[in-house]
Symmetry: D2
Subunit: 146 residues, 4 copies
């Protein structure tokens, strides 16, 4: 099946699978790609000891990295290589070792080569830990061969 024969949902899943297979960082951190739709992605990850900071809570960088990866999956669902131009995160509550983090990215806008995506980070009890906003910029190339 070529990309021309795919539905938007199939294209989203194929792009996401290809990205994840090559994403050494996401794999090393044990991220799971739980759901992908055009402009949408939900990922999860368990907080390991090597994701804690000097205050014995989840390192903000690890929370960010999960959000950033969810953002990347959601904005690459159209099989156009899209990178982050900038991101912001607001921390609301800490995560602890053994918690499961869930990052849900939704598309707020997409026009021309740019887009804005909002990611909500929760724990396994549904408590919101952080709010992330990512700005996407589409460059040349496709995620999977057309």
């Amino acid at each position: 099946m070529t990309t021309d024969d795919m539905t938007p949902q199939q294209l989203a899943e194929a792009s996401s699978a290809a990205m994840h297979e090559r994403d050494h960082c996401a794999q090393a951190m044990g991220m799971s790609i739980d759901e992908v739709k055009p402009g949408y992605a939900r990922l999860s990850m368990k907080i390991r000891k090597d994701m804690l900071n000097g205050h014995a809570i989840s390192h903000g960088g690890c929370m960010f990295t999960l959000c950033d990866t969810a953002f990347a999956h959601s904005c690459n669902t159209y099989n156009r290589v899209t990178v982050a131009s900038g991101c912001s995160i607001d921390y609301l509550a800490p995560g602890f070792e053994g918690d499961t983090l869930i990052a849900t990215s939704v598309e707020r806008s997409r026009s021309g080569r740019t887009g804005v995506y909002d990611v909500t980070l929760t724990n396994q009890r549904g408590e919101t830990l952080a709010l992330f906003r990512g700005k996407a910029y589409q460059i040349k190339g496709t995620v999977i061969p057309e």
Copy 2:
């Protein structure tokens, strides 16, 4: 020597050393604390294969995590436990496997319980890869016993 006997520079170094010893994430990523002064920190890290994303460049989350850790060291130099309330990053250029990332955090303001810190991320050739801004919030407790 108690913290009362320390100069600001000694206190900054002792707080930073204590944080780094407990920072499982920074250690797992191979971060080096290269210089610390009151309100200032410079860290470095080599980009490993497990820090690459699905586009074969340094994962934005790993670049962020180094910046965030430099920010944490700079805002905890006064031995008051200080956490991030929010951060933003703008990506200017990619990093590649084997590159050394250098994050330099400087204090832009500190008043009451809050502060703002600017981190510049460069590679080993001095090229700027990202600009990061962190908002710090001082909570209860000290980094090392008073």
Copy 3:
């Protein structure tokens, strides 16, 4: 009626009305407070010639100011004086002279003394012109006497 006798909705409306009466800037710009609920506000404003910038489109500062005011109304609906600690805005499309801007602010989180609010800015045709995120910080005092 004292504030103790008010429903949350009555308190929200009374706080908002008191704020708007004293808000010289919002009045000078012709802002209208169209709807207020606890943690929510919707405002509108017509783009005048003195709100255009040197590129003949609505000045980003004026778009921001409407968003910021909607944010202020939404986070002050509990009759606790609450100010902005920081805000960000992403511009998606321009506004033009004579357009009506509509800013809708919703509460994303509120815990302790801080909160996060998302404002969507549209024009009269429902096109999204900007996305704004505000961080609120509750200080001492009440908006209306208790």
Copy 4:
């Protein structure tokens, strides 16, 4: 004199003057363009009563608008029409009626069609009131005829 005959400094000043002449908003707010160099601008403005918010301090939107205008002047100094794609502001201290606000914008990066500019907002006593960061995006056209 055509733009080809101008030094970078002359071009910066000519672009800035042309922008300001057309900037109805900046003029209505009484902004003064105090210094312009390539990638740099310093503007000032007196806080009037119609720039106060419902808490009787300078409206965050007015502080933002001055910063945003300084940012616009600094990123349009090359005579290439450049607009804001996004901005963030962190408020450190309030301004009061009669205070003079001074916004100084410096270029942090400029590459391809994008740039990042940092604006520091102070009052007449040199106290920092806000830190602003603007992301610039170069579109088609020139500020003054080539």
